[in-house]
Amino acid sequence: MKETPLSNCERRFLLRAIEEKKRLDGRQTYDYRNIRISFGTDYGCCIVELGKTRVLGQVSCELVSPKLNRATEGILFFNLELSQMAAPAFEPGRQSDLLVKLNRLMERCLRNSKCIDTESLCVVAGEKVWQIRVDLHLLNHDGNIIDAASIAAIVALCHFRRPDVSVQGDEVTLYTPEERDPVPLSIHHMPICVSFAFFQQGTYLLVDPNEREERVMDGLLVIAMNKHREICTIQSSGSEMQ
């Protein structure tokens, strides 16, 4: 289904309102929408609602053989899916650009910043490591997918418990949840993405753009930071900023 086009008068209205420092939902320029996080019954399942944008996150794990050049590290795999429920325009063949961009940003933010200790995921060096898979599903698109997705990913990873493993010489024992309590992942820090929509070469910046504001923005700046004020990732796309 095609996306409903944005009319010119709506576009002009939004831009004029932003120039006067007003937002349609009454927020200030640096206000975030309300965040609501709820957990499911399985370990590693969470639903994050950022205003009306909704993301479901689920973490799962599996024992696999490690990559050849990283024999002592576990594998982290992220998969963000734009469900067809989220917006009528998200058809299977049609969203590749946005999807690749979002997935790549998620990977850089979470994998390259080394927030999860991958060395602790190693069971037998060179043979068996844990592969942690994070599946994120966008359920409703009301702007700012990347922030909601990064929150869902890090919350699901903190909530997740993997089965306990013990290694004695050559013998590896994998315990079921009934035998031994599952073990949490070791997380160094929690990077969260914050998006800024900018208009007119950076003269006007809005935090947490909603869907309408995203349609009229000139460019998007995403900064991922953690609690210790360290920047994990920066990405700027769209037109130039001065």
Partner: protein, 235 residues
Amino acid sequence: MEEETHTDAKIRAENGTGSSPRGPGCSLRHFACEQNLLSRPDGSASFLQGDTSVLAGVYGPAEVKVSKEIFNKATLEVILRPKIGLPGVAEKSRERLIRNTCEAVVLGTLHPRTSITVVLQVVSDAGSLLACCLNAACMALVDAGVPMRALFCGVACALDSDGTLVLDPTSKQEKEARAVLTFALDSVERKLLMSSTKGLYSDTELQQCLAAAQAASQHVFRFYRESLQRRYSKS
């Protein structure tokens, strides 16, 4: 400006004893339903059966690709997404079952050359997944205002190795059962719309299960009715 019509009816219907251990063949797990929870789809519903939860979103009647359009009725499409991993053959087969059920019930001839898309997302799976998907799809179609000739519901039952019937089985009960049967029943005359079975069972057992499912569907339809009444009576 559009008004916030975010009325959600959260009702728990308890039928007999909803918690385990359950008596043979009498009770369903307690269920809850919430409608209109997503802003983008035309209709949306979340259906909970015990620990199994499915979220459904409906878009329609909407534009359809020329290659897929049918000249005299609406094109119904069902998409089921699992929580972990990519969708596989099991999802495709469930999508087809749900689509056949919906096509039997939705009045597609009122909207020719349009598409009605039902998207289902598994939020948690603790047994009776197909039945929960059917219920969520029905509630979402009602929320979207798609014209239907009847409502439908899904009921699952499992047969033990010694022949005991358990309605709405949990995943543990499904694994240990000899046969698992899922039925889709319509609301007007409790007729059978769809049945999907797995395992070994006899002819009489099939009739028994069908009768038990028809009795249980009464509870589900009463729950639908109460939930919709409560939702619309607030305003």
